[in-house]
């Protein structure tokens, strides 16, 4: 049982608060992704768990044991750094072997251990090379092998795919979940890439300015973002955000988009009259025939393929631009005028001032695009 708990962690540099009373629980064997823009405090948090920097306040508890004042070498952690941090004067073999030499393993055990993990990561042919002679992908795999070789109960991965090319990143994104599952370790994975976060995380913690803004499964984050910023960070193409002022309509509310009423029956009438922002995922918008009830006339501006989707930029009356996406290969509008329809139940409403989501989105929001 190796759980990881952070309790009320505060870290300041000079007068700047980097981690602001942050608490976090990671379950045994879980992969938690820390996601957020740079400067959010993700790396600091990881180093704090590793024990190379100390918190000003709060406790770090690993496997039920208070490790706050324990030195890094006694925490039983494996870590891969964003910049790889390989030892430049040692061969790849010695780099990978370093956690084993620390425990004074026998020579045979070291050779066997390094060989096994090197084979797993497909770098067994470059073990004699020094880091200087390794390609970026090999460096990254060497760094990962070094983190894995001692089978540490807690693995910290600091954006390990940041500095590798797109092809390798894609491959590793497919390989990593299997690797991590095989290790059975409790993993904290830092990334700035939302696709990586959704592909790898059992849960995602979205960080900003030293705090955790939202924590939940990838589906939770995608389908119920806590605020505008999170809604904007998750999703490609990004969510459409339009200013609206809802009106009461029976028990629910209506919003007016380009002169067309869109019913949001699942939201309470108390929201009527407030200044809000509606968030509409591009994949929940559909092109419809003119004359369909609720159809909004639009001007088609541009169309571009994006992976397995086709994204269309359209302009609604009033000049606001909206993105619509649909599976590639499905029929779309011809240039000129077209009509789109909004399913009110799949939209989000955010407070314009605070950016907080004001009410739950409908349940019908499917996870289309979530796995993209």
């Amino acid at each position: 049982m190796t759980t990881l708990q952070l309790q009320n962690i505060v870290k300041r540099y000079k007068s700047q608060v980097v981690l602001d009373n942050l608490s976090l629980d990671v379950a045994d064997g879980e992969t938690l992704v820390l996601f957020g823009p740079s400067g959010a405090g993700k790396t600091v948090l990881l180093r704090l768990v590793a024990g190379v920097i100390e918190p000003d306040e709060g406790r770090v508890i690993i496997g039920g044991e208070d490790m706050t004042d324990v030195d890094a070498e006694h925490r039983g952690i494996g870590m891969a750094f964003q910049n790889f941090a390989l030892f430049p004067h040692m061969s790849a073999f010695d780099n990978i072997a370093s956690p084993l030499t620390a425990t004074r393993s026998s020579k045979e055990a070291i050779v066997a251990g390094v060989g096994k993990v090197a084979k797993l990561l497909k770098i067994d042919h470059v073990l004699s090379h020094h880091p200087k002679a390794l390609s970026n992908g090999q460096k990254q795999r060497t760094a990962l092998a070094r983190a894995l070789v001692g089978s540490p109960p807690v693995l910290l991965l600091d954006d390990p795919l940041r500095n590798v090319d797109a092809k390798l990143r894609f491959e590793m994104r497919l390989e990593l979940p299997r690797l991590l599952a095989a290790q059975g370790a409790t993993v904290v994975y830092v990334t700035q890439d939302y696709k990586e976060a959704m592909a790898l995380g059992d849960r995602i913690a979205v960080m900003a300015k030293g705090r955790i803004r939202q924590i939940g499964t990838p589906e939770d984050i995608y389908n119920a973002p806590a605020d505008i910023e999170i809604a904007r960070l998750f999703g490609d193409p990004t969510i459409n955000l339009l200013d609206v002022t809802p009106k009461a309509a029976g028990a629910g509310i209506d919003v007016e988009l380009s002169g067309v009423k869109v019913a949001l029956p699942h939201l309470p009438a108390s929201l009527a009259g407030r200044s809000l922002v509606i968030g509409i995922r591009p994949e929940t918008l559909h092109f419809v025939e003119a004359g369909t009830p609720g159809a909004i006339p639009v001007e088609v501006e541009a169309e571009t393929p994006l992976n397995e989707k086709t994204v269309t930029l359209v302009r609604v009356s009033g000049g606001r631009e909206v993105l619509v996406s649909r599976p590639a290969g499905t029929p779309g509008p011809v240039a000129g005028t077209a009509h789109i329809a909004v399913d009110g139940a799949t939209t989000f409403l955010f407070d314009k001032e605070t950016g907080q989501r004001v009410a739950a989105a409908g349940q019908s929001a499917k996870t289309q695009g979530a796995a993209a």
Binding site: R47, A50, G51, V52, D71, A72, E73, H74, R75, I77, G78, M79, F81, N83, F84, A85, L86, F87, P88, H89, S98, P99, A102, T103, H130, P131, K132, N136, K139, R146, G150, N163
Partner: protein
């Protein structure tokens, strides 16, 4: 790629030759002088054609200086040994003390660390004579004047700041992540210092040690004031060639050749460490 014209190549060659001549001429001239007698050296016009003689070296090595007024005893070989002993011990002690200190200053920003490091550097600001007067007094009270220990101690004023500041820079250049990675792999801070920081700062430590050695070797005034004849290094010992019956140019030249040989040899040997890349692609750059 820039293409260089033939004219440019020629001009560059001429310029290089001039520079080399300018800097090498004194050394070559001294080297030639060391094989001449005082008479041929002082003949006018000077000539590069002469019958070489080894009598200057002979006089230095045997310690018997033949002058017009008779034979003088000189302690040149003893001075040379003194120089070697003083410089080597000073640099060794400065490395033992300075390298860990440099690491501490580079990695652990504690209260007042900058001030302490700067104070150590400031030893190099003051002219040596400023500290010499009080030092002479202290050393007499403490019984340290005219001892090797006293001299080596004072030489730390030269070596320690140099090593501390140069090596500190090299330690600071090592990515902290590389050291963190070794700690997290389960090694103590001391193992990290020994296996990661020291090897990676190796070229810097070699450079600093070499510089400190040259500075210590060339020191004149500390030894002049604080040591008597039997503890003096070559720099002070060379004064003995200015005798009552004239200046012994031949012997001075031979003495210079002998005394620059160790530093020159060391510099040539250490050269490959000095140019060796520091980071070796440790982190992505």
């Amino acid at each position: 790629m820039e293409t260089t014209s033939a004219l440019e190549k020629v001009l560059r060659g001429v310029a290089l030759t001039l520079v080399v001549l300018f800097f090498m001429f004194p050394i070559v001239w001294i080297f030639l002088m060391s094989f001449q007698t005082n008479e041929t050296i002082l003949s006018i016009p000077p000539s590069v054609i002469f019958t070489p003689t080894l009598e200057n070296y002979q006089a230095l090595i045997t310690g018997k200086l033949q002058t017009a007024s008779g034979t003088l005893d000189i302690a040149f070989m003893k001075n040379l040994l003194n120089s070697v002993f003083l410089s080597v011990s000073s640099v060794a002690i400065a490395l033992v003390l300075g390298v860990p200190a440099a690491y501490a200053f580079a990695r652990h920003k504690f209260r007042g660390s900058e001030d302490i490091a700067f104070t150590l550097l400031s030893f190099r600001f003051a002219p040596p004579l400023l500290v010499l007067l009080p030092l002479t007094q202290y050393f007499q009270w403490m019984g340290l004047s005219n001892t090797y220990i006293g001299l080596i101690w004072v030489y730390q004023l030269i070596c320690l700041p140099l090593i501390l500041w140069i090596v500190r820079g090299y330690f600071e250049d090592i990515s902290a992540d590389v050291e963190y990675a070794y700690r997290i792999a389960g090694h103590s801070w001391f193992a990290t210092f020994r296996k990661i920081a020291l090897p990676l700062a190796g070229p810097g430590i070699a450079a600093a040690g070499l510089l400190a050695f040259i500075f210590a070797w060339n020191n004149f005034v500390f030894a002049l004031v604080l040591a008597s004849a039997d503890k003096q290094p070559v720099t002070v010992g060379a004064l003995a060639f200015v005798t009552a019956s004239g200046i012994q140019y031949g012997q001075i030249a031979a003495a210079i050749v002998l005394s620059i040989t160790p530093t020159l040899a060391l510099a040539l040997y250490a050269q490959r460490y000095l140019v060796e890349g520091l980071s070796l692609g440790a982190v992505k750059g």
